[in-house]
Symmetry: C2
Subunit: 291 residues, 2 copies
C-alpha cells in the first residue's frame, strides 16, 4: 500500500465521525436502529486485481457474495440482504448464475442495487446488511492479555486452489473459487469471543491488524495453525489470504460452541504487535495480501 493510499484511508477514518462507525477501522459498520443492531459491510472486486483471468465470472459472483457474508460472520451477524453495484459488460449471464447460486446457498435475498455501463474493467461491489445476534458486536479491538488466540477453519486451501486454477496444481479449486463464509460458526462464537475477524488477507497480516487494534502483542505458534496445504507450504499458507477462516481471541477456559484450534496467546503490548514462534514480526510488509 502506498503512502498516498494510507493517507487517504486515514482521512476517510477522520470523516467517519459517527460514534457507531467502525467500518473504516474494522471490516464492517455497526449501527443501532429501532432496537436492532445492524452490521453493514461493503466489499468491491476489480477485474485484474481481485481475480485471475482463469476464474469464471460465475465464481467471481459467488466470491463477491461470500466475502461480504464472511465479514458478517466475523460480527456474529445473520444476513438480511445484499445490494449489488454492477458495471455491465459481456458475460453478464455467467455472473448472474454465480450470484443466484450464492444467494440460494446462503439463503440471502438481493434487495436492490445499481447497474452502470461504460467501465473498461469490470468492477463489482456488494453491500451486505446483517442483524447482529449478540451485542456487543465483536470487533478487532477486544483482545486482552492472557486470552487464547484461536482459528476456526484452516488456512492454505485457497492458495492450493489458486495454484490449481492458474497453474499445474491438482488440488481442489473450490476453497479459492467458491469459499464458504462461516456464518453459523460466527454467530455461535460471538457471545464468547473478546475479538474476532475473518482471515481474508492472510493469517499473519490479519493477526497483526488485530494486535494493532487491540493494542496488544499476539504470539502465534506456527505449528499449531491448521493448514489445508502440504506441510512444506506451511509458511506460505500463513501468509496467503482468501481462506475466510475466523480468527478470534477468548479466555482459554471458555467452553467454545464450535471446533477451533488454539494457535497462540495474547500478551501485553511488547516491542512488536506480532510474534511467530517467538520471533518478532514487526513489519507487516510480506505478511499477507494488502489491497
Amino acid at each position: 500500500m502506498s503512502s498516498g493510499e494510507i493517507a487517504f484511508i486515514d482521512s476517510l477514518r477522520e470523516l467517519a465521525v459517527h460514534p457507531a462507525a467502525r467500518g473504516l477501522t474494522d471490516d464492517a459498520a455497526v449501527l443501532e436502529i429501532g432496537g436492532e443492531t445492524l452490521v453493514l459491510t461493503k466489499d468491491a472486486m476489480v477485474e485484474g486485481v481481485h481475480w485471475p483471468p482463469q476464474q469464471s465470472l460465475t465464481d467471481v459472483a459467488w466470491k463477491l457474495v461470500a466475502v461480504n457474508l464472511s465479514d458478517l460472520a466475523a460480527k456474529g451477524a445473520e444476513p438480511v440482504g445484499v445490494m449489488l453495484g454492477y458495471a455491465l459488460g459481456s458475460d453478464d449471464s455467467a455472473f448472474l448464475d454465480g450470484l443466484k447460486a450464492a444467494l440460494e446457498s446462503f439463503d440471502v435475498p438481493l434487495l436492490g442495487g445499481d447497474t452502470v455501463s461504460g467501465s473498461d474493467r469490470r468492477t463489482f461491489s456488494l453491500t451486505a446488511i446483517g442483524r447482529a445476534t449478540h451485542t456487543p458486536v465483536p470487533s478487532r479491538a477486544g483482545a486482552r492479555p492472557g486470552d487464547g488466540i484461536y482459528l476456526c477453519g484452516s488456512v492454505g486451501g485457497a492458495m492450493m486452489g489458486f495454484e490449481a486454477l492458474t497453474g499445474t496444481g491438482r488440488a481442489d479449486r473450490t476453497p479459492f473459487t467458491r469459499p464458504t463464509p462461516l456464518l453459523a460458526k460466527g454467530c455461535a462464537l460471538s457471545p464468547h469471543v473478546t475479538a474476532m475477524m475473518d482471515v481474508s488477507d492472510g493469517l499473519l497480516l490479519d493477526a497483526w491488524r488485530m494486535a494493532q487494534a487491540s493494542k496488544v502483542t499476539l504470539s502465534i505458534d506456527s505449528t499449531a495453525v491448521p493448514i489445508a496445504a502440504p506441510e512444506s507450504r506451511r509458511d506460505d499458507a500463513l501468509r496467503w489470504g482468501d481462506d475466510y477462516a475466523l480468527l478470534f481471541t477468548a479466555p482459554t477456559d471458555t467452553a467454545l460452541p464450535t471446533d477451533a484450534s488454539l494457535i497462540g496467546i495474547v500478551h501485553e503490548a511488547g516491542a512488536t504487535p506480532l510474534t511467530l514462534d517467538e520471533e518478532a514480526l514487526g513489519d507487516p510488509e510480506g505478511l499477507g495480501y494488502r489491497h
Copy 2:
C-alpha cells in the same frame, strides 16, 4: 440501453425475490427491521460516463452523496449514514474535500466502506441508509387515475449548469455540479403522495417509468412545468436529467405541505404511458438519459 443490458436487469429483478425488495424496480430497497423501516439506496458513478472531464473530483464526490440522498428524499426517508466504495487513484484529496463538504452539509455520517486500487477508470459507489419517516414508503407504483401530477423543484438548471461547465454558457454551474437533495420536502410530502420519485434521468423519462410502474397514463402539460432555463430550451429541459426535483402524484384536493407545481393529470392506462400536451409519447427513446 442495449437489449443485453435490459435482459440483465430483468434477470436481476427475478433474483430479487424478497417481498420487501423494491430496489431493482425502484430507486431504493425498503426493509422492515426492528420496528423501523429502512430505506437503502446504491448509486455508482463511473469516470467518462457519469461526469464530464471538466468537473472537479470535489464536485463528483458531492454529487455522489447528493444523488443517493435524493433517492432517500423521494422515499420520505431521513439519512442515517452512508458507506463508500472507492477505487483509489490520484487526486484523492480533492474527492475527500467534496465528500467532507457534502456529509457536513447534509448532516450525514460516513459509516464505513471499502477502498480498492488498480482500476483504470475511477469508479465510486455509495450506499445510503435512511429511516423512513412515514409508511407505507412512497413508490413509483401508486399513481391513481384522477390524481394530479406535481413537480417539487424545477428542471433544466442542471442542463444550463452543464453547458456553462463544458462550453460557453454563463449560467450558474451549481445545479449541475452541486445538486441539493430535497430531503426535508420529501419527508414532508411522503404522507400525502400516492407515488413519488426523484427526477434524475429527465422528467419525461422518469414520468414514463412512473406511468409504467403504476399501470396508468400520465398526461403532462409542458407549459406548466417549472423550468430553470430560458423558455427557448423548455423542450430540452423536460428531457435533461440531474435536477433531482421530486415528481409525485396526489389527489388534487390535497393540502400540500410544501410548494409544488401541478403539471398534469393521471388517467386510466391508455394507448401509451405518457402524453405531453395531449400528444402520445409511447417510446421512451429520446425522453431522457438512460444509464
